[in-house]
Amino acid sequence: MTDSDAILEARGLHKSFGRGPARVHVLRGLDLRVRRGEFLAVMGPSGCGKSTLLHVLGQMTPPDAGEILLDGLPVPPSAAGRNAIRRRRIGFVFQRFNLIDVLTAADNVAISLRVRGLPADGRAEELFAAMGVSHVARRKPGQMSIGEQQRVAVARALAHRPQVLLADEPTGSLDSANAADLLALLGRVHRDDGQTIVMITHSAEAAAVADRVVHMIDGRLLDAPP
């Protein structure tokens, strides 16, 4: 893979939490390349650092050392620079959906667009129609099923047309039927729209929808970058 094929690249990432004897070294010199339009699944046991990797890639926390390149350019280390990346170029799907309880589904999408300074005109309706949840647009999260909530969360993550969609165990809170539906949805978004997706998962079934699966253990990837 040439550098121009990589939309997201991590080089020598280190990340630790805590201080002194309680310090936990979670990422230990991790390297990763994600191709443009690739659906990558990252698997590994609990505590291996999968979610931390996703948070670092998603610019929610800076790495202690190492470098992240997005579309070939290094991500600025400043909080404002990382914030701008989150705002414009990254979409995030959480295991527990993380919808805002007091807002309707449509308003959850609209506020994520407003935060990004983008117009909300019709975008939520368009995405809800594509994801088969138009009927919940005026409902609040507490009035939706968990499957519907996760689809709305995916719609919110895609609303601003991010370059990379990061999904942190998106099926982790779903029953098997809803999980299958969601994976089919992600697969369709990847296939039809060429959306780059990095998905953390425990599940081999979930990972099966990805183009490529990498395994992680003790803060490093077992599989060498392609």
Partner: protein, 403 residues
């Protein structure tokens, strides 16, 4: 729907209590200021209705006559002013001021000669009944007894209360204004007891004149001036048309006599009772500070309870300024609702006060409404700053992973 409004509507009870806290503070500000200033300025308004330009009073009283009553300036100055400055002075009306308890509270009583009543009534006519001592029979009777040359050197006369109210020259008559009549339930023909005498209410005039109670000047002088009917409290001087009051006051100046313009009375009241305003304003400031501390605690609690929501916004790239705006906007919405409620409560309180105590005046002015709105907006922003800062410091990773 925007997030601050959604949060306010979602937490109905907490939002209502917060808005109510603001509302009570705003209501206190507007109502107490309106009551203090309204009641005082209503007195000033009434004095400004007097058809005169100058007030003459003894200079030993200093530069503020607002609380003074009783024996003051010799009546002879009325003649002196008219005789010496006939080109300047159109009319002089001596007035004796005293206080009586009527309608449940102390009232300033104006003792005035019937022919001068139009000066203190500001030209108002009677609504009911008649003026006291209409043909001056009482005045002439008392003057005959006390001012006639034959009485000089005699021992003081003993005049019984019954003599003062003899049917042929009844001097114990009152005219009251319509507001006191309504508050006290008084009607023409009623007899009231005050200052140790029985008085007849003979007339009712429209509210807005100089005082609420009027009586014959000679009766006031005799009863409240220790029998000396040669002195009144003040003299109202009306200057001829086109005369400059300030120059007139200088021209009429005599040793022992102070002359001020009638329009200075409001400033004298403000000077005398300004401390009351400061006290009321201080109480209002304390009430508002408490109200906004309540808002701050509410917003701070909200921030602590909504770290996940804030983290979700930050995970979407929300800037610190965006988060700060959400909290300030929520504060402004709560305060806005509280201000509207507070103003509504103020008008209700004003109505209730004036209904329960008709002699009090609560004046809610546009200025004070604007002050209340401005104070509320400023308080909303200031009280939101710390919670907003805390919100902007939320660790999104900790908030989103501690599920």
């Amino acid at each position: 729907m925007n997030l601050p409004l959604a949060n306010i509507l979602h937490h109905t009870l907490r939002s209502t209590l917060s808005a109510l806290g603001i509302g009570i503070g705003i209501c206190m500000l507007v109502t107490l200021s309106g009551l203090a200033r309204g009641t005082l300025y209503e007195v000033a308004d009434r004095w400004e209705q007097v058809r005169a330009d100058l007030i003459a009073y003894p200079d030993i009283w200093g530069d503020n006559l607002t609380t003074l009553s009783g024996v003051g300036l010799p009546d002879k100055y009325a003649g002196v002013f008219a005789a010496e400055h006939g080109d300047l002075v159109e009319r002089v009306a001596p007035v004796f001021l005293w206080h009586l308890k009527l309608g449940g509270q102390d009232q300033t009583v104006v003792g005035v000669d019937a022919p001068d009543a139009d000066v203190v009534l500001g030209g108002r006519g009677l609504l009911e009944g008649r003026l006291f001592d209409p043909d001056s029979r009482f005045s002439r009777w008392l003057e005959g007894l006390l001012l006639a040359p034959s009485s000089e050197g005699d021992s003081p006369l003993e005049i019984a209360s019954a003599d003062l109210s003899a049917p042929s020259h009844n001097g114990l008559e009152l005219v009251i204004d319509s507001r006191l009549a309504a508050a006290g339930g008084y009607r023409v023909g009623d007899r009231v007891s005050a200052a140790g005498h029985e008085w007849s209410i003979v007339g009712i005039v429209p509210a807005g004149g100089m005082a609420r109670v009027y009586m014959p000047r000679r009766a006031a002088q005799f009863l409240f001036g220790s029998g000396d009917i040669t002195k009144s409290t003040i003299l109202f001087v009306r200057l001829r048309a086109g005369a400059d009051p300030s120059a007139g006051a200088r021209a009429l100046r005599k040793p022992g006599v102070m002359l001020v313009q009638v329009r200075q009375y409001r400033a004298m009241l403000e000077q005398k009772f300004g401390v009351l305003f400061r006290y009321v304003d201080a109480v209002n400031v304390v009430a508002l500070v408490i109200a906004f501390l309540f808002v701050m605690i509410t917003l701070y609690t909200m921030v602590l309870q909504r770290t996940r929501e804030i983290a979700i916004l930050k995970s979407s790239g929300a800037s610190d300024a965006f988060i700060l705006r959400q909290v300030v906007c929520e504060s402004l919405l709560l305060t806005g609702a509280g201000t509207v409620a507070g103003l509504a409560m103020s008008f209700a309180a004003a109505w209730a006060i004036e209904t329960a105590a008709p002699l009090y005046t609560v004046t809610i002015t546009g200025t004070w409404v604007l002050i209340a709105v401005g104070a509320a907006a400023a308080g909303a922003i200031v009280s939101a700053l710390y919670p907003a800062w805390r919100a902007s410091r939320v660790d999104l990773l900790a908030a989103l992973t501690l599920e």
